[in-house]
Amino acid sequence: MKASPRKPSRRATNGHSPEVNDGELNRWNLRLYVAGQTPRSLTAFKNLKDICEEYLKGQYHIEVIDLMENPTLARGDQILAIPTLVRKLPQPIRKIIGDLSNTERVLVGLDIQPR
């Protein structure tokens, strides 16, 4: 049951070119947890933005959560490491920790690229 929502994303990556689908801005719902404006957080955000622009253009939505401001939110997504990227949508939830400097692994982690 969890395999079916994955299929469109695979198709998207197969073409290696972002298919722009209107109204699907929320197809990729990503959350980046950071703790303050640290260089590592900024790097992570920049890396994420670059990857999304390249592979998920027009289909993604990034929400940055600063745990310094909202520490209670760490509990909901079980955040330990900073920075952590959480893929809320499509299901299932996936997490990528680190500064996202390795694009290959981010793509694998987000299931944009097959393992």
Binding site: Y33, A35, R40, A44, L67, M68, P71, T72, A74, R75, Q78, I79, L80, A81, I82, P83, T84, P92, I93, R94, K95, I96, I97, G98, D99, L100, S101, N102, R105, V106, V108, G109
Partner: protein, 591 residues
């Protein structure tokens, strides 16, 4: 605490300790865990790590008004609450009262991908938030090592852990960190390198199918602590650590004496019975009346209005009451008055430590004046000699400090020497009574003697010990030319003696009579002799008298003849004759 205050010259910032509130633990650590520092609890699975940590928090919140945070890496909040609900810890209530925060940190390895640099600031923030939200003074990280299995970059984890412990110290919270025991090491991932202040090892060993939990303080920087392995147990009230000799030999010795309930036995103990607070061992072979002796002691105590507690490992309460009734000891009324309490269990039901802890618990609750353990030898079925002795040592220490008089019965086998068969505890006892079955002349009798009674002048005699329908009676055993006699031999000997005495009495009466007769005889003879003498004397006197008369008559005749012859000087002729003689004598001298 004492160790630190004893060194006034050292820096004023001596190690402060945080009491855990866990019974016994604060004693062996002399105050608790180091305040504001992390403590590592390691042990194998099921050793009780999580429970220890949880109790540290719960007791902190309830007894010391110190809120705590429980960070669990293994169990969810609700699982935790359910698990400890059986120990009467109501976590949900504590959470509602803002005395406790439960935070379940869960990492699903399969949904995590690592790329590039990261740190564990998220965890720090969560801890920080949890601590600040209730002003926590205590924190538990339950199996922090779960991080190692959730994240793959060990270098980062280690660096972050180092930072975490530093951070916790800076925060000033007292932390307890649990760790799984590794193969040959204290912890699987070497966490003891980071937490170097206090390391406690929990252990659960199974011996003879009975498991015993033990605790050891591996390391405690900056303070003295007990170094032994201390048994502990977990019951419906949580953790209890049992310090083996934490009390030492410093107890006071009361001088008050208490009756044993058997008058003759008191007499054997210089008339006043045992010292209060002493430990008394009653040993003997099967069926010699040890329990009955103990029941007497209990009856005496309860009659004085004291509370008594019987730990029975062989009989049920009803059985004891019934059996003692048959010898005239009525215990049930004391049970009803709440002066007497029984605690019956099979020795094999638990390990020694649990037994000891239960005894501790029951004693603490009931607060008796007298404790009877019947019998101690049954513990040997559970543990070996050394363990049993160590357990009894702790029990006796515990009782002595509370000045509770204790009577222990000990079953000795008929074939072994009594000195060998006392679980090696006789040296711990203040008084030792031996009840011995003595078999002779086809019957079995009981003899009682006092092997020792510290500080009491006691009889060295064997007394015959008889169970009657009104309790125990001690009778002087017959000690005579035929040795020590008991039972029917004693009574027949006594009968024989009685007969002999009657005979002797008859014989002496006979002699007296004879004497009297002899006396009468002699007296009669004496009278006869006297009579004879008197009659003889009278005859002689009569003769003398007659002789005299005859002489006078002769004189008179002579004078008559002279007168008839008209002789001169006739008047006093015979006088003249006498005078002439006298004159002649005078003339002779004058010449």
């Amino acid at each position: 605490m004492t160790a630190t205050s004893r060194r006034p010259r050292s820096k004023p910032t001596a190690l402060q300790k945080e009491p855990t509130g866990i019974p016994g633990f604060d004693e062996i650590t002399r105050g608790g865990v180091p305040q504001g520092r992390p403590t590592l609890i390691c042990g194998t699975a099921g050793a009780g790590k999580t429970l220890f940590a949880m109790e540290f928090l719960v007791r902190g919140a309830t007894q010391f008004n110190e809120p705590g945070v429980f960070i669990s890496f293994e169990e969810s909040d609700q699982e935790l609450a359910t698990n400890v609900a059986s120990l009467n810890f109501d976590l949900n209530e504590l959470v509602a009262e803002k005395k406790l925060v439960l935070d379940y940190v869960f990492i699903e390895r399969s949904e995590i991908e690592e790329t590039g640099e990261y740190d564990l600031e998220g965890l720090f923030l969560r801890l920080d938030h949890a601590i600040n939200s209730i002003g926590a003074k205590r924190i538990v990280l339950d199996t922090l090592e779960a991080l190692f299995s959730s994240l793959s970059n060990e270098a980062i984890i280690r660096a972050e852990l180092r930072r975490l412990f530093r951070w916790l110290k800076e925060k000033g919270v007292t932390a307890v960190i649990t760790c799984e025991r590794g193969n040959g090491t204290l912890t699987r991932y070497g966490l003891e390198e980071y937490v170097a202040d206090c390391v406690i090892l929990l252990d659960n060993r199974v011996q003879n199918q009975i498991s015993t939990r033990r605790m050891r303080i591996v390391k405690y920087r900056g303070t003295s602590h007990g170094t032994n392995e201390y048994p502990f147990f977990i019951d419906e009230r949580g953790f209890s650590v049992l310090p083996i000799t934490s009390l030492g030999l410093t107890h006071r010795a009361p001088t008050e004496r208490i009756s044993s309930g058997i008058q003759r036995l008191d007499t054997m103990l210089s008339g006043e019975g045992f010292y209060r607070g002493s430990s008394i061992l009653v040993s003997g072979t099967a069926g010699t009346g040890k329990s009955t002796l103990a029941a007497h002691f209990v009856e005496a105590a309860c009659s004085r209005g004291e509370r008594a507690l019987i730990f029975a490992f062989e009989e049920s309460q009803d059985q004891i009451i019934r059996n003692m009734r048959s010898v005239g000891i009525e215990l049930e009324k004391f049970v009803r008055k709440d002066l007497l309490k029984f605690h019956n269990s099979r020795p094999s039901a638990f390990g020694l430590e649990v037994h000891l802890a239960m005894i501790h618990k029951v004693i603490t609750e009931f607060n008796p004046h007298l404790v009877v353990v019947d019998p101690i030898t049954n513990f040997l079925a559970v543990g070996n000699d050394v363990e049993t002795k160590s357990m009894l040592t702790r029990l006796i220490d515990f009782l002595k400090v509370r000045q509770i008089t204790a009577m222990f019965t000990s079953l000795t086998s008929a074939t072994t020497l009594i000195e060998d068969s006392e679980v090696g505890v006789s040296s711990l006892m203040d008084a030792w009574l031996l009840v011995k079955g003595i078999e002779s002349n086809g019957e079995r009798n009981r003899g009682l003697y006092i092997l020792k009674a510290r500080g009491i002048a006691h009889s060295n005699q064997v007394r015959e010990f008889v169970l009657t329908d009104h309790g125990i009676e001690l009778i002087d055993a017959y000690i005579g030319s035929d040795g020590v006699l008991m039972g029917s031999a004693r009574s027949s000997q006594l009968a024989r003696e009685k007969a002999a005495e009657i005979e002797r009495r008859l014989a002496s009466a006979q002699k007296e009579r004879e004497l009297r007769r002899k006396q009468e005889l002699y007296e009669a003879q004496l009278i006869a002799l006297k009579n004879q003498y008197e009659s003889e004397r009278d005859a002689i006197l009569r003769d003398l008298d007659e002789e005299k008369k005859r002489l006078e008559l002769a004189n008179a005749q002579r004078l008559e003849i002279a007168r008839l012859r008209r002789a001169d000087n006739s008047r006093n002729n015979d006088v003249n004759i006498q005078e002439n003689g006298a004159k002649k004598a005078r003339k002779g001298t004058a010449r």
